[in-house]
């Protein structure tokens, strides 16, 4: 009797099926501070969100992908090339950096034309199209130093687009943009992803990344914490252990009733408040109203004690 081949292991959501950017065991440190810690993942066509709190290592990862920072350990390949050493890799790449750094004494048109010239762009209409895409063509002869933060950001986006890159790395690209510009930029990035370009977008705002990217990679304290579509990330965050404060008409009786609930891992009473620890906050949320009704207790307030996104991210790597 022949044995059946083992079923294929489920694909690791940290890795894209048609990878154009491959990060393998990447570690970067600045003196005693570890910015990236053995991160392995890959990016392919479409928009991928890079999510994490401030200081998680998103910018470091993006800069290593662009070859601007050397790795202490590991490798990064862009289209099979090392972007740090093989300058040819830069032909496919473009970065919109997070920091608001633009040469001030130059017009937006001059800046975009400069980047186009460095990339060997032959199409002399490309700079105008890039400026039109970000709606800057009317003010393109004004000096970048006199622009608002949002306009400077759009100038950098135009400079990134002018070389028609196949891999676009956008570090917090919506910073400084007003709501109308945000919508336009999100549409633009989604369109670029739909065209088959690899678009990597970082943000520390979960709902912003959800609008941008179907696939997300979460970094926390330099480590890869989670990966997958936004439902997977949401549920990973929702299922973390968390503390919930419950204010009710009879805290002591409610605490006693909660002890028997499967989703509850600990109960404490603090004055008039019941502090509930739960590994499955979603299940607790479903069970709590029924339990209170059965015990004839009025619920006055239910709120999580540690619901900041940052604490959620932290739990993912605990």
């Amino acid at each position: 009797m022949s044995t059946l081949p083992a079923p294929p292991a489920p694909a690791d959501p940290a890795f894209a099926s048609e990878a154009t950017v491959v990060v393998d065991g990447a570690s970067v440190w600045f003196g005693p501070n570890v910015a990236l810690n053995e991160v392995s993942c890959s990016f392919g066509p479409g928009v991928t969100g890079l999510l994490g709190p401030n200081g998680a290592g998103k910018t470091t990862l993006m800069r290593t992908i662009c070859g601007m920072l050397p790795l202490n350990v590991g490798t990064v390949r862009v289209g099979g090339l090392d972007p740090r050493v093989q300058r040819e890799a830069q032909r496919a790449l473009a970065l919109v950096p997070e920091e608001d750094a633009s040469p001030g004494a130059i017009s937006a048109r001059q800046l975009v034309r400069y980047v186009a010239a460095l990339h060997g762009v032959r199409d002399r209409g490309a700079p105008e199209r890039a400026l039109t895409t970000v709606d800057l063509v009317d003010v393109a002869d004004r000096q970048v130093g006199g622009f608002s933060k949002g306009m400077r950001q759009r100038t950098r986006v135009a400079a990134a687009l002018v070389s028609d890159p196949t891999i676009l790395v956008l570090d917090e690209p919506l910073n400084g943009a007003d709501p109308v510009q945000r919508v336009a930029l999100i549409e633009l990035f989604n369109r670029l992803g739909d065209e088959g370009r690899t678009v990597i977008v970082s943000s520390h705002v979960l709902h912003e990344v959800e609008r941008l990217a179907r696939r997300q990679i979460v970094l926390v304290r330099g480590r890869l914490a989670a990966a997958g579509d936004h439902h997977a990330i949401r549920s990973a965050i929702a299922d973390r252990p968390r503390q919930v404060l419950v204010r009710s008409s009879d805290p002591r009786r409610l605490a006693a009733a909660l002890v028997g609930v499967e989703a509850v891992s600990g109960v404490g009473v603090d004055g008039g408040d019941v502090i509930v620890s739960s590994l499955r906050a979603t299940d607790l949320a479903h069970a709590l109203p029924g339990l209170a009704r059965q015990a004839d207790i009025r619920l006055l307030e239910v709120r999580p004690l540690d619901d900041s996104l940052e604490s959620a991210f932290r739990e993912l790597v605990r």
């Binding site: 601007m68 300058r87 032909r91 920091e99 004494a105 034309r113 400069y114 010239a117």
Partner: protein
Amino acid sequence: MSAPAAERALPGPFVAAFVYTLRVCVPPKRAALLALPCVGALLFGLLARTVPEPTAAFRFNAIAGALFGLILPLACLVVGDAVLGAEVRAGTFGLTWLSPVRLSTIVLARWSAGWLIAAGALVPAMALSALIAGVPEAVGPIAIATLAGTAAYLALFVFIGAAFKRAAWWSLAIVLLGERLLGGVLPGIAQFSPQWLATMVYAGLGPSAGELERAGMPTGAAAVGRLALLTVVFLLLAVWRIRRLRLAGTVE
């Protein structure tokens, strides 16, 4: 009639990097800073007229040390730091780095633009200084010495900009402590010092400037050759160092 900017053909990478450097590296504040040593050169020319020496050429020799030891390096420092170090500090160098252009092309374009600016400001100032001092025959030699000196200094400061975070301070320390102080007493250091070698160029070519010569150092055309060699070495070092640049932005 020239075509509007939007329709003009895009230049090649070297020309683009050269023109960009000319545009951005000397903003108004830096231009004012660059004007200071140039005005200083003219004042030294006036000062030379008061020196108690028998001829104008000897009087000019008396201030040549200050022209090459102070005016030349300070003016080059203002431009040289802007060419690379200031851009790395400001985080704008990434724009240039993130391109398929060879790093040697970037270094060469930035150095040549910086050299053009520094020489364009300093050569006329030094020449005017000689004229004010009443030594018109020194105009040619001092122009050659300044051209060769600015080339080497710009290359040195481009290298320092790629090598050190606090490039301006390192540059000042190298010029004032290394070259001026140590180079004044240690001939071994002076052999590789742009300011001493520029002085030697003038010592070999200038009128009655033999008294400026230092034992064991090349003078005239030989000093120009040494400066050209130094320029090449500093540029090669800059290319080597720029490959190792960590463009961390605000994350480091």
